[in-house]
């Protein structure tokens, strides 16, 4: 039976005073937040030891919506801030939920070097193929021939392949899902939270209001229909061949390796230096 005036079972993970969120009808960011919250609930995560960091963009609001310690940073610097948080207190779980424009356009270099160092921060990137918040400009992930406000005759730039970039830079866990694969995305976020080292999930997210309506997909349902038709699950395939085209989106887990994380090596080194100094003093 329908009962009105009930609270959602996951409302304890959300800041109730901030809800409902500002995202458009059909936006995938809500699904990313929902899957993240589901994963937290299944893991029974300690909310006191979890820090959610996000940058600028529509999905940057996530840090304000989750009822954890959260940090809304300047544009493109979410990984830089998260590196500081993780190095200062390695016991904290640091999760970055941010967008493709924030992480790969202005913050691309931070991403590469965080992946190279293999620092134990977890990155969930919602890829909506354009700069949604500022009006739909061309971004580094816009597919070829896509129409945006700054490419009205079709995009002529080759897009980034984010999973290939992350895998090549040395991340220890790399996956890509769409917002239609909610169960697998939730499982993947659980795996991400349990792993050591730099982990990265790209979530292909519908943006019907800004990107979709210029590309003959006026509603969120039409964009989800595109994901359903085009996506192919290929676990542990070659990320170099996982380009996003209108006919084919390769999803799945691409990399899952064990590697020593930077914060452990860093704190070991500090302990060694301190021991030597103590020997000299005595």
């Amino acid at each position: 039976m329908v009962q009105e005036a009930v609270t959602h079972p996951f409302s304890k993970y959300l800041r109730e005073e901030m809800m409902p969120h500002i995202w458009c009808a059909g936006c995938g960011n809500g699904i990313v937040l929902n899957c993240f919250v589901h994963a937290l609930d299944e893991l029974k995560a300690d909310l006191d030891k979890l820090v959610v960091v996000s940058g600028i963009g529509c999905i940057g609001r996530t840090a304000g919506y989750t009822n954890t310690a959260s940090f809304h940073t300047t544009h493109g610097r979410s990984i830089a801030f998260a590196t500081g948080v993780k190095l200062a207190n390695p016991e904290l779980d640091v999760v970055i939920v941010s967008g493709d424009g924030d992480l790969f356009a202005i913050g691309g270099n931070h991403f590469i070097h965080a992946a190279r160092r293999n620092i134990g921060i977890k990155v969930i990137c919602a890829n909506n193929f354009n700069y949604g918040m500022t009006g739909g400009q061309l971004g580094p992930t816009t597919p070829l021939e896509a129409l945006t406000t700054t490419s009205p005759y079709g995009n002529s730039e080759h897009p980034f392949n984010l999973v290939h970039l992350a895998a090549a830079a040395g991340a220890s866990y790399v996956a890509r899902w769409t917002t239609l694969h909610v169960r697998r995305l939730t499982q993947s976020i659980k795996r991400l939270m349990q792993k050591e080292g730099f982990c990265f999930i790209e979530v292909i997210s519908p943006c019907p209001e800004i990107f979709g309506r210029r590309n003959k997909m006026r509603s969120g349902l039409e964009m989800m229909e595109w994901f359903r038709k085009a996506s192919v699950v290929e676990n542990f395939s070659d990320p170099a061949k996982a380009d996003i085209t209108p006919d084919r989106i390769v999803v799945g887990e691409f990399v899952d390796i064990e590697k020593m994380s930077y914060e452990k090596l860093f704190h070991e080194k500090i302990a060694q230096i301190n021991e030597k100094a103590m020997e000299k003093m005595s």
Binding site: F10, P20, C24, C27, I31, N34
Partner: protein, 93 residues
């Protein structure tokens, strides 16, 4: 029809299939239609009424058809729907 579902399971009298209890928070719905489209049993349908946000929230057509997969509650971007299992005492009555 496959052989294994031709006959009723032997313990059908002892084991009751779980019944679902679908909760809709109608005023949080933004009318994206994901729960209606992606329900595997087509339990939901767009309603005639208009909520506080000016859209048509879903309504429940047949709650007994729900198989508790909870896909609607994960795919909802607005935290407006969730499914709970009905308590066992209620189903015995």
């Amino acid at each position: 029809m496959p052989e294994r579902i031709k006959h009723a399971p032997l313990d059908i009298k002892k084991v009751k299939p779980p019944k679902a209890e679908i909760h809709l928070i109608k005023n949080q719905c933004k009318g994206c239609g994901y729960c209606i489209e992606f329900c595997p049993k087509k339990v939901l349908e767009e309603s005639e009424e208009i909520n506080a946000r000016g859209v048509h929230p879903p309504k429940i057509v047949d709650e007994d058809k729900c198989i508790l997969c909870s896909f609607c509650s994960v795919v909802c971007p607005d935290f407006a729907i969730f499914v709970l299992e009905k308590k066992q005492e209620e189903t015995k009555k």
